[in-house]
């Protein structure tokens, strides 16, 4: 896999498709595993790390998972390439910043990754667009079974899969959904969502942006408990109650905006469009913030039939049917491709922050204006 080949498009799981995709961007399941007969990584010499890496790499690279897979060495990668992988959610920030022999196996469609020598010897994950956790669980189980035929995992009948940190013990599972919740934020209800999540033993993390209140309005909701609960039961809880509740909550906020505060909504959408179409300097944070409002406007038109003046204007710009120029995938593409590492890799060389802001504005301007002329 050449990173230059993936850096000019979005991942398949980020294309805005799948069940409940107007709110649930993507589903992800990861399993944490360690090899029996080896120390955890904090106590491993580089020699032992290299041995673990070799064992797991050869085991995984020999698998047939139905999609071509490639191995990328993280210790040998440039920091720009590492950041690209972080921006695409293919490795964690922790893995990018780690030490010693380590790497990642990535499938061509970027729906499967295996981080080797992150916090645990092995962390495999399966991703999918929209709300598709049951599918992710089925896939990751199959892959886990295949790997287990080739290596021995550290496992205790009492505590389950043994992990470096006791918080991942048991099933070693972390189930996450990426949610777009702009209306909860606009109606000042995002704190309520945080509290509700906490009461259900779930963790919320803001994505793409600093602090918990992400500029992008994208939040990752994950299970916290991994011991004493079956994998399928956690998935069922997410699919049958957690996700429908959050979706209902965000939808109620969208309807409330539409019926009670259409001017607030239109102001946000119009400003976002005007700024993105005209700005000559735009920071990553500002772009994430404004693109979120365009995504909201498009989805409110497509899924709720909203047609306030600003939403209508945005919809006309997008076009429809066969001649549709701007879709959620376009917005997501602008979103991902203007992140710092993507921007620089696609440009071909490192850029100073100010030059990045100029280039980012230019890319967004041309994508959002060109469409007007051609329609």
């Amino acid at each position: 896999m050449e990173l230059n080949n993936i850096s000019n498009n979005i991942n398949e799981w980020f294309d805005g498709s799948g069940p409940l995709c107007d709110i649930v961007i993507s589903s992800r399941i990861r399993l944490a595993r360690n090899l029996a007969g080896h120390k955890f990584l904090s106590r491993c010499s580089n020699i032992e790390k290299a041995e673990i890496l070799e064992k797991l790499k050869s085991a995984i690279m020999a698998l047939d998972i139905g999609d071509e897979i490639s191995y990328i060495s993280i210790d040998k990668a440039t920091s720009l390439n590492r950041n690209l992988l972080v921006e695409r959610h293919l490795i964690s920030r922790h893995h990018a910043l780690g030490k010693g022999p380590r790497g990642v196996v990535i499938s061509n469609r970027e729906l499967f990754t295996a981080m080797i020598n992150e916090e645990d010897h092995l962390r495999i994950q399966v991703l999918k667009a929209g709300c598709q956790l049951a599918y992710c669980l089925e896939q990751i189980n199959k892959i886990d079974d295949m790997i287990e035929k080739k290596v021995r995992y550290a496992f205790s009948p009492r505590l389950g899969y043994l992990t470096a940190c006791p918080t991942n013990l048991g099933t070693g599972i972390r189930i996450s959904v990426m949610l777009h919740l702009p209306a909860l934020k606009m109606t000042n209800q995002i704190e309520k969502f945080f509290n509700a999540a906490r009461d259900m033993n779930l963790t919320v993390r803001g994505l793409y942006g600093e602090g918990t209140e992400a500029a992008s309005d994208l939040y990752q909701l994950s299970n916290q408990v991994s011991l004493g609960v079956k994998e399928s039961d956690i998935v069922r809880k997410f699919e049958s109650s957690v996700i429908p509740e959050v979706v209902e909550y965000e939808n109620a906020a969208r309807k409330e905006l539409l019926s009670k505060q259409p001017d607030v909504l239109d102001d946000k959408i119009s400003r976002a469009l005007a700024l993105l179409q005209n700005a000559h300097l735009i920071s990553s944070q500002e772009a994430l913030f404004l693109l979120s409002h365009l995504r909201l406007g498009i989805n409110m038109h497509d899924y709720m039939g909203a047609s306030t003046p600003a939403i209508k204007k945005l919809h006309d710009l997008c076009g429809q049917g066969q001649t549709r120029q701007i879709s959620i995938a376009t917005i997501n593409k602008l979103f991902m491709l203007t992140l710092p590492a993507h921007l620089q890799i696609n440009y071909g060389k490192p850029l100073e922050p100010n030059d990045r802001d100029i280039l980012r504005a230019k890319i967004i301007r041309s994508a959002l204006n060109q469409e007007t002329q051609s329609s």
Binding site: N34, A36, G37, H38, K39, F40, L41, S42, R43, S45, I47, E48, E119, N141, D144, D145, E148, K149, R152, Y153, A154, F155, S156, P157, R158, L159, G160, Y161, L162, A164, C165, P166, T167, L169, G170, T171, I173, R198, D199, M200, N201, L202, T203, Q224, V225, S226, L227, G228, V229, K230, E231
Partner: protein, 169 residues
């Protein structure tokens, strides 16, 4: 551990309070905690868990005694001081070595759950003793490589391979 208020239910909420230099601990069940208007953040970062549990000067008989602080994993040389600093364990065997300290922490992190339920590897796991043996060989191998004794290293590597092969058969 029983709830200190009702003395009936299992205590799942453990609070530590420090005021004017003295540390008081409370262990409550969820009902009593709710009655006391104690709201508990259910997501407790690992560092908080650790400082809550491990920085306590041992007052509980079960974790008291000077032995605990000096307890070292025979496998990987891991100590509680290191766990406190790094938040991760040294080897799978540490779960047994430090069981008395880890157990309350595990329950707290996992909503009171104590034991595994869910997927089990299809192959039987390597027994603990065998794992210890392999890990000890690996430690010797590290030393041999470090002191550039490649002959010994080769012998040890063979032994490790042999041991692992026995396991997978």
């Amino acid at each position: 551990m029983q709830c200190q208020i009702c003395n009936k239910n299992e205590a799942t909420i453990h609070l530590t309070e420090i005021s004017s230099g003295t540390r008081t601990e409370m262990h409550l069940c969820e009902n009593c905690a709710a009655e006391q208007n104690i709201t508990v953040k259910s997501h407790i970062p690992i560092n908080e868990l650790l400082s809550g549990l491990l920085s306590v000067q041992p007052t509980d008989e079960e974790i008291a005694g000077p032995t605990l602080e000096h307890l070292t994993c025979p496998n990987c040389g891991f100590t509680l001081a290191q766990f406190r600093k790094e938040g991760v364990l040294g080897c799978p065997y540490d779960y047994e070595v430090f069981e008395s300290v880890l157990q309350p922490l595990i329950e707290k992190a996992h909503d009171g759950k104590k034991s595994h339920c869910g997927k089990i590897p299809a192959s039987t796991p390597i027994d603990a003793k065998k794992q210890m043996e392999i890990m000890s060989l690996r430690r010797q191998l590290d030393d041999a490589v470090r002191s550039e004794d490649y002959e010994l290293a080769a012998v040890l590597r063979d032994k490790i391979n042999q041991n692992e092969k026995q396991q997978t058969n």
